[in-house]
């Protein structure tokens, strides 16, 4: 996004200039987004409200039209912040647990009461725990750890024997007697598919009905190549569902 006017005067600041300082991360805002996208930072640890406040404080509102570029920048921010809210919402949404009774009706008032009471207890337990962990975090253990005496390596005779067996087995030539002669090529099957497609869309299952495993595999590979070349499209309405080949344009 350009925020430099033809005269070279800097106008509204680009989002790339927005830096943040949170407990979990400090640096450019765009870096934070990158870390979240790469799963290197847990979205649930990012305080979104704090983030928005930070943005508002760093970029106070200006009267409309006074600083060009501001609208774009704000829009960009709102756009990315909304995505973060969505991501965080998804990360925090209760995992779907099939529970016949509750699915349609929602929890009964009594269930809800029990759940809330349990949660209240957990919450108070957590508060007590937080205080206790904080207190113990400032008790430091001795720094006079004893340096270990030099240790001696231990080798197992059994493991050495197994290693020898493994090393020797590796150098044996792999047997090929189980492999049959390969008698079919991708080109042949591609030709077959293209011929069949002249009559319109084709079910992959019908195509391979009378083929053996090898020919089926090669046929699939041929179909993929043709799809990659744009000569056909592959469609499947559901995972593991029937596969349909449609002639390309």
């Amino acid at each position: 996004m350009s925020t430099i006017q033809p005269g070279g005067r800097a106008t509204g600041r680009a989002l790339s200039a927005f830096t943040i300082d949170l407990d979990v991360y400090s640096g450019p805002y765009e870096g934070l987004l990158a870390l979240i996208l790469k799963d290197e930072l847990e979205i649930f640890e990012v305080p979104l409200r704090e983030l928005v406040t930070l943005y508002r404080n760093t970029n106070p509102p200006t009267p409309p039209g006074e600083t060009p570029g501001v609208l774009e920048r704000d829009t960009d921010f709102v756009d990315s912040a909304t995505s973060l809210v969505l991501l965080k919402g998804r990360a925090l949404a209760p995992a779907h647990e099939p529970d016949g009774e509750e699915d349609d009706e929602g929890p009964s008032a009594q269930d809800l009461e029990e759940r809330l009471v349990t949660y209240l207890k957990i919450k108070r337990g957590a508060d007590a725990l937080a205080e206790r962990l904080a207190h113990n975090a400032c008790l430091y253990p001795s720094a006079h750890a004893l340096p270990p005496r030099p240790g001696s390596l231990r080798l197992s005779k059994d493991r050495l024997a197994k290693s020898l067996r493994r090393a020797i087995a590796r150098t044996a030539e792999p047997g090929v007697s189980h492999l049959g002669q390969i008698t079919v090529t991708v080109q042949e099957l591609a030709a077959l598919i293209r011929a069949s497609l002249l009559h319109g869309p084709l079910s992959f299952e019908d195509l391979i009905r009378d083929m053996d495993r090898l020919r089926s595999a090669v046929a699939f590979s041929a179909a993929l190549s043709l799809a990659a070349e744009g000569r056909l499209t592959l469609s499947q309405t559901e995972p593991f569902g029937p596969l349909t080949l449609t002639p390309g344009k």
């Binding site: 990360a91 995992a95 400032c138 253990p141 001795s142």
Partner: protein, 218 residues
């Protein structure tokens, strides 16, 4: 006199037998981690009775009232730590800040597992009403939770999570029992208030959606 590694050759002959108290002091002084009584007995060759007597003498001597070094019973063992009164000084001396505390969500998950556990991930999610998988992963990484067996009664036998020895150490607890019970922590009045509020809501709105709750444990 050898070096800075905890050895000293004074004029006293090494052959003299050190007292039980000396032995335990020396062993604990050289251990950043708690030392189990069984280890102490094994290393010092003291009888359990002698060791226990020495330990109670040491607890008195290294009590927070009398000493900058405190003897505590924690995570199944004994450990010397600095007196909490000295924490600010220690952080100044080591030029390092106290590690960042855990998030509110992490405290809630630990509280769930401690009080209701061992629990599966699904049970933790259900108890908190929000997905806690990421928090659990983080606590497993920090070795505050561990997988302790599997729930054979649930489909797929999901892992049961429990708190670890490091958790007990971080909480300064001797064992799992060394925590106040939930009944001691939560005011009965507070529980009644929640129940009342629900009843009130119920009469106004017979059906209620999942309540909104601060996922960060706010």
């Amino acid at each position: 006199m050898t070096d800075g590694n905890g050895y000293e050759s004074t004029s006293q002959p090494d052959a003299a037998t050190p007292s039980a108290v000396f032995c335990i002091e020396a062993v604990l002084f050289l251990s950043p981690r708690p030392v189990a009584l069984s280890t102490i007995l094994q290393v010092t060759a003291l009888s359990e009775e002698e060791a226990r007597a020495a330990i109670s003498e040491l607890k008195e001597r290294y009590s927070p009232r009398y000493c900058g070094i405190v003897l505590r019973e924690v995570a199944g063992g004994l450990q010397f730590v600095t007196n909490s009164l000295c924490s600010a000084l220690v952080e100044r001396f080591r030029e390092e800040a106290r590690p960042a505390p855990l998030s509110g969500a992490a405290h809630e998950v630990l509280s769930c597992v401690l009080y209701l556990g061992p629990l599966t991930r699904a049970a933790i999610n259900a108890a908190r009403g929000v997905n806690s998988d990421a928090v659990v992963r983080n606590l497993l990484d920090r070795n505050l939770l561990t997988e302790a067996g599997r729930d054979q009664t649930s489909p797929g036998a999901p892992a049961l999570l429990d708190v670890t020895e490091d958790f007990l150490l971080a909480a300064g607890a001797r064992d799992r029992e060394d925590f106040p019970t939930l009944e001691e922590i939560v005011e009965p009045a507070e529980i009644s208030r929640v129940r009342e509020r629900i009843k009130g809501q119920e009469s106004e709105h017979p059906r209620m959606d999942e309540p909104i709750r601060d996922p960060e444990g706010g």
